[in-house]
Symmetry: C2
Subunit: 207 residues, 2 copies
DNA sequence: TAGATTGTTAATCGATTAACAATC
DNA sequence: TAGATTGTTAATCGATTAACAATC
């Protein structure tokens, strides 16, 4: 299967939520141009994305929704469970902890880490919080393979190194730091300030 | 000036923070390949980005840091102030409110909105929180042109419509909803779940 | 000058778009 | 069949990479 870019994954995720609504309304088939208008993309884009995941439509009838959902879920959702850790239970970390549960399929928040003793040992939104000292031990024990990094910038690289050493393979980085990781590790940067600066830039340009 | 993509803006932002550290260490000039290694990109990439913002280097000496900072800031930071509103002071909204102040240049958080009466009227991290009923009035009065959307998915489109009607021109969308907006409005989607699903997908693919 | 840098140019790669033929 | 859809193909566009000439 070909590589999927962020945009494709993002669109597939969007299609899926639309399809589930359509299915709830007892529709069996859906035309690509209907799906396209609901997801705000072009019909051709929809068809290409769906071909990519291996789903075929029928001319004059469209795509079978149940079939489509199955195909998209196969690509989007892990066949096996991924186990996640959140490192850094500050304001942002807590917000993510409260937001995620129930919104993911086959992605399990298995642990949270923080240095603050007032947080460790507690259960936060159903997730056990451990001391950062125990990172190595817990990451291995819980077979965690993806981490969400919401620590202060100053310690971001150190924490990353420890995570990588203990077998982490994917990283969602909320810090503004350019993390240095081995090639095999996938890092996704998500900086709110950068996004806002980009929006401000585009707003000025379009004016 | 040509269009700048998200990646360019992201890199420029990264260069800037590195340059400011270098300047603090009293360095006057910096070679592109040094900057490149610090930002984890190729030297050619750095040079292209810097040419794009109109900065010129000197062979055998490199780029003058002060000059460079000026050029990047000119592109990255607004010449005039942008005023932001945050709509939806839930867990995520609060986290963003606490995170942003002091991290932005020429971007001012002018107001927050929520329906919950226990939050309205208060000052949250230095930002006044208003009732959602007063959205139209306040957005106009405060000349807000960019909004951060952290409301529940169910009301996202409604709130967006009201924001657009009152002159918002850029939108950072944290909801999973595909917002329908006029062409002139720039929407940036930032969905944590989608990012995690992408990471999980890439982790599986690389395995 | 020699060496290491810079800016420039053409080539590559990926994703998107547009035009077309095939299908029910 | 006719009409509206689908899959396929070639063309376009943008960003990145690689190779080169110019500069201090």
């Amino acid at each position: 299967m070909a590589k999927k870019t962020h945009m494709v994954i993002c669109r597939l995720s969007r299609y899926l939520s639309i399809l589930q609504i359509q299915r709830a309304e007892d529709k069996k088939y859906l035309f690509s141009h209907i799906l396209a208008s609901l997801a705000h993309v072009t019909p051709a884009q929809v068809r290409r994305d769906l071909m990519m995941v291996g789903a075929n439509g029928i001319p004059a009838r469209g795509y079978e929704i149940a079939n489509l959902v199955r195909h998209i879920e196969k690509v989007l959702y892990a066949s096996h469970e991924h186990r996640l850790a959140l490192v850094g239970v500050g304001n942002l970390g807590r917000a993510i902890l409260s937001y995620l549960p129930g919104r993911m399929t086959n992605l399990v928040l298995a642990a949270a880490f923080d240095t603050n003793p007032s947080k460790t040992g507690k259960l936060l939104h159903g997730v056990r919080c451990f001391s950062l000292d125990r990172l190595d031990e817990i990451v291995k024990r819980e077979a965690i393979d993806i981490a969400i990094l919401t620590v202060p910038a100053a310690v971001a690289q150190d924490v990353t190194d420890r995570l990588v050493q203990n077998g982490i393979r994917g990283l969602l980085n909320f810090t503004a730091v350019a993390l240095r990781v081995p090639r095999k590790i996938h890092v996704e940067d998500l900086d709110v300030v950068v996004s806002l600066e980009k929006i401000a830039y585009l707003v000025r340009e379009k004016a």
